[in-house]
């Protein structure tokens, strides 16, 4: 997908920081402190483009915190301090002169609890587009239809685009949030337990959608659900109390983990 409005991070060859062939997201020796306590401990991790990576681990292991580092949502919390480097497409996103707004345009996010704006379905998707300069009605209409189709929601809502988004079911709301995120054509989509509040049918639809989205987007998903990670992800990273224990192809993590702790966790012995 190309867009003249927003040059892609990964194809910016003019920047000396972008080295061709290097991994898309490079996390090196990253530590994060909440005040005095260290929530992430020296994490190093490389993620590839157009691949689904799952972060798994027990509650409080730091997987969500790491996810929120990728679009710097942790900036909103008082007293958070980050050490080490985190590069996307060769750019260090924690550098002082990085425009967080620009970063978040390219790194979209879907939250655990669906959070549509209390506006119409149409306005929900249009919000991000308008922010980034899409003004003409015909452009908006086209992009909104495209996004809703991309989120497998179009057929269900095309007749009531101008009714409140809060009237949708939980699963539909979450897909609307996905549509809203993909409407501005990010390169990476972060998903923070996107299906944890949904029933099994709605969850299945979201999972199908993720497999579909993988063709165009790099996806990082945090999940509590081991089967879900196994079903949809290509790579899996297992975290435990702020440390990255093991990272590798999903198949290997679930069938033949290198670490005892990983094996205990994926086989359900703790967590």
């Amino acid at each position: 997908m190309t867009d003249t409005l927003m040059p892609k991070l990964s194809v910016n060859a003019n920047d000396p920081g972008a080295v061709a062939g290097s991994p898309f997201i490079e996390i090196e020796n990253l530590s994060l402190y909440y005040g005095a306590s260290k929530a992430l401990k020296n994490i190093s991790l490389n993620l590839d483009e157009k691949v689904v990576t799952a972060f798994i681990g027990p509650s409080g292991c730091g997987k969500s915190t790491l996810l929120r580092c990728l679009n710097r949502m942790n900036d909103l919390i008082d007293g958070v301090r980050i050490e080490g480097s985190m590069k996307i497409g060769g750019y260090n996103i924690n550098a002082k002169d990085v425009d967080v707004i620009e970063l978040r345009k390219r790194v979209g996010m879907v939250f655990q609890k669906s959070n549509p704006f209390p506006k119409s379905i149409y306005e929900n998707v249009a919000y991000g587009l308008r922010l980034h300069g899409v003004k003409a009605k015909s452009d908006l209409d086209a992009r909104i239809e495209q996004s809703l189709q991309g989120a497998a929601l179009w057929d269900e809502v095309k007749d009531r685009l101008h009714t409140s988004a809060l009237g949708l079911s939980g699963g539909q709301q979450q897909r609307l949030c996905i549509a809203r995120a993909i409407a501005i054509r990010p390169e990476i989509i972060l998903m923070d337990e996107p299906a944890s509040a949904l029933d099994p049918i709605a969850t299945a639809r979201i999972e199908d959608l993720i497999l579909e989205l993988k063709k165009e987007f790099t996806i990082v998903i945090v999940t509590h659900n081991m089967q879900q990670a196994a079903r949809i992800s290509d790579r899996t990273a297992f975290f435990y109390i702020g440390e990255l224990v093991e990272f590798g192809p999903t198949v290997k993590i679930f069938t033949n983990p290198a670490q005892k702790r990983t094996e205990d966790y994926v086989s359900g012995r703790f967590g």
Binding site: N71, M73, L76, D78, I101, E102, R104, K105, G108, M109, F111, K113, N115, P116, F117, P118, Y127, G128, L131, H132, C177, R180, A181, I184
Partner: protein, 314 residues
Amino acid sequence: MNAPATKNFRTDKFDFWSFFFSGLTGLATLFIIGILAVILGNIVWNGWTGISWHFVSTIPTKDFFDVKTTGVLPMIVGTAFRVIVMTIFVIPVGVITAIYLTEYASNTSIITRIIRAAVNNLAGVPSIVFGLFGLGFFINFVGKNMDAVLHNTSAVWGQPALIWASLTLAVMTLPVVIVATEESLKAIPPGLREASLALGATKLETILKIVLPQALPGIMTGGILAVSRAAGEVAPILFTGVAYYMASLPSHLSDQFMDLGYHVFVLSTQSPNIEQTRPILYATVLVLLMLTFALNIVAILIRARVRKKLRAMH
């Protein structure tokens, strides 16, 4: 002796203290509600006969104690005028302060604590002190200096005027607007802000497009409460702009004005014959009460809805 007679859970002993204290506190509650009912009842009962179209639409002569010809139009206009000018000043400042406190400031920073302490204090300053402040600051300092700068030969701004009364009231009602706006800003789910920021909106865009539209009912409550509080206040305007009598309606910010609350005070304490002028006193009180009370009830209803929403979320 007998074994315990009752096998069921009913107690056969009358619990005197329970009855006594529940009754006592219940009576206190009833008594307060009774006071409210008696005050309102008394005023409505005695006041409604005096209200007529003539009464609310007439500019009285200097002898406004005359029951037949008097009217309260200049007082209604004066009160409305000063309250509207006040709103223009207090709403933006109050809302922006609340936005800073909830959206930008860190709760632990010293400056935030000082701002909060100042707001609390401002809320506790007696209204008469606001009047003194208006006289000492707005009239004797700002106004006199304005006259000096503008080379006015006679006092234009350096004397009691509508603008000074309105500004004094704006300072007085600032905490009301801040507190109500803050309450409604806090009621907005943080998820909405996150969603907007994650879409690449700036903080300002998020506040303007997502947060403020959601907070509108709360801001309205704050504004209405401020208006209703200010409309009934007399002490702060005594030295800053109110007039005993004016033959015409106020038309300029430097004019003095007549005022409903002050007029109530004049009618009840300076009447040559209190028995005879009682109908117009009650009618004026009723007009004032309708103005402030209607606003108050609207504010209480909106606030109750906002609070319900807040509770449903947590």
